[in-house]
Subunit: 346 residues, 2 copies
């Protein structure tokens, strides 16, 4: 790498998150010396514009990473499983948006506002958390620091864009049909998304969806609270983009809406939007194309000794994926954490 | 009244709930001697078909109830406030779907599966609870009887039909437009419903929405548990009909999904739909036009000593409004509770 910038690769560059990663890199003036756009053989040869330059998408292979400093991956779990170690052994730091590496003991799972320090001593693979988890921990960490969390109960309202462009296309295909049984032929979901609610894939073993289990385990890992008591219900609703979360927190210390606003106003990455009597509160449409985590409808919860309600909304493609990945890259630079030794078993 | 049936009036007969009340009366072969359809002056003169007979809608006035045994009201809070006492003084039992009378100390608030006994000694006005509350208490009461509830945390996913035909029309107007700022001119809501989530009207005094406060107070009244610890977040999502609820219960006694299924399988008005690994669980589309309360995605919640998750879905226009009102009328007959003395101050 040179002082003029970094050699960047985006794997999965043609997808919804990949394209947004490119947009966010440009918006934030990320120092780029060279840019390589990688995708599956199917998309190789496509051209994409980036900051006035036309790039030809290349097929992702084991030789893709020899001249790369940082590789942003958003190409699915199996691609990450195969290619992240290859990239790391080639000397590229992988920031991976899939779930493949998140719970690996030697892979930091990072939300820069919460645990940038976890980047130190990494081995070349860094995981970007699940979208719903990112926005939750951005809101929870400052409240834990101030009031000590005892228990968190969360129900999500997640958009179809969590499944990428296919999810968005399926919902838009379906909205002209108002009844049941009108699922889009190209839907990635198990049922009709329009005018409906659904769960993510549910595991037979314990009845939890994969998304619910991810949120519990990832939140504990990011916050370094392996015993944190968490209850999670993850629901897909017919919104195009932006995830919302209804969160009840129970704390050790006394807590009030005024104290919460004071703490969150000082926290990084958060915008308080809380004049509900004027209908000013976070919504998926208001969070669209924004990088912050929005918090509102803050209320005292007197069903526990010290409790409160929060409503947490963020753009799942930005802070929930692309923006957080780019922020991890920025943190690596700020913390001088670019040098690494790959694990022998990578 | 005669043995051949009852003299029925439906006030608000042209609205979404009023029309469904008529449909439910017919489906259940409710014994009707005479039927009077009442609405505002604007709708008077309209004709409506019911079981092969054409009825002319009459204007609701203080003289409407002299020849009525049971009046089903779904005409809005201010109409109920004015006309329910007039109807009761005229000798008609009012079953009122508005929120006007629900918390009145001399008005039973009834979900027949839960508290039909509250009908005894009524004074001519009986309140039908809030839609979201009805489906919640149908699920909670048998679990309270078996395991003793300590605390309930609930987040709702409510359809636009809670605001009647206008809510449905607004969402359908809006779905062709995918961005923000495209609110339907005839929307009853404070903001765009399509691809969005919103709260009900929020009160400045405590930051709770009216819906959230109703759910807390009404649940306690119906279950006769004035101290029950409840946390409620009410959210409108872009579904046309059917309300869903994410519910975390904490109980005094040990609880497991198997025990919950055993209890709910015996309970009235409930259908368990819980094979989530096969994507079989309650959804708004599956509950559409059904009278039951559907419960699924039942999981153990180990974030408390004895806890569980439930997902509760019902058709808000049927069990949440019309069906429950007709069931109250049926209960009055079954319990021989048609005779009443109006309050002097009615």
């Amino acid at each position: 790498m040179t002082t003029s910038g970094y050699r960047i690769a985006v794997a999965g560059a043609t997808g919804l998150v990949g394209r947004t990663m490119l947009k966010v890199l440009a918006e934030r003036n990320f120092p780029i010396q060279s840019l390589k756009l990688l995708a599956s053989a199917r998309s190789a040869g496509m051209t994409m514009e980036h900051q006035g330059t036309t790039y030809t998408v290349e097929e992702l292979t084991e030789h893709s990473f020899t001249d790369v400093d940082i590789a942003l991956f958003s190409a699915g779990g199996s691609t990450s499983k195969t290619f992240a170690p290859i990239a790391a052994r080639s000397g590229a730091i992988v920031i991976d948006n899939s779930s493949a590496w998140r719970m690996h003991e030697h892979v930091p799972l990072v939300v820069p506002e919460v645990n940038a320090q976890a980047l130190h001593g990494h081995h070349g693979i860094i995981a970007n958390p699940n979208c719903s988890t990112i926005q939750l921990v951005v809101a929870l960490q400052p409240l834990h620091d101030a009031f000590t969390l005892k228990r968190v109960v969360c129900s999500t309202y997640q958009s179809v864009s969590g499944a990428g462009n296919k999810g968005v296309e399926a919902l838009l295909d379906e909205v002209p049909n108002h009844g049941a049984g009108q699922q889009s032929a190209r839907s990635p979901f198990a049922m009709q998304a329009a005018y409906n609610t659904m769960f993510h894939t549910i595991k037979e073993i314990d009845g939890f969806s994969e998304e619910e289990t991810k949120m519990i385990h990832e939140t504990r890992k990011i916050m370094s609270l392996p015993e944190l008591r968490l209850a999670m219900t993850c629901v897909r609703v017919p919104t195009l983009g932006g995830h919302a979360e209804s969160v009840n927190i129970e704390t050790e210390q006394p807590i009030t809406p005024a104290k919460i606003r004071e703490v969150l106003a000082q926290a990084r990455g958060i915008e308080i939007m809380d004049e509900p009597q004027n209908n000013i509160y976070p919504t998926p449409l208001r969070a669209h194309d924004r990088d912050d985590v929005f918090v509102g409808h803050i209320r005292p919860d007197d069903s526990v000794e010290h409790g409160a309600y929060l409503w947490v909304v963020s753009d799942n493609i930005r802070k929930g994926a692309a923006t957080n990945a780019v922020q991890i890259a920025e943190s690596l630079i700020q913390h001088n954490a670019l040098a690494f030794t790959p694990l022998e078993k990578w």
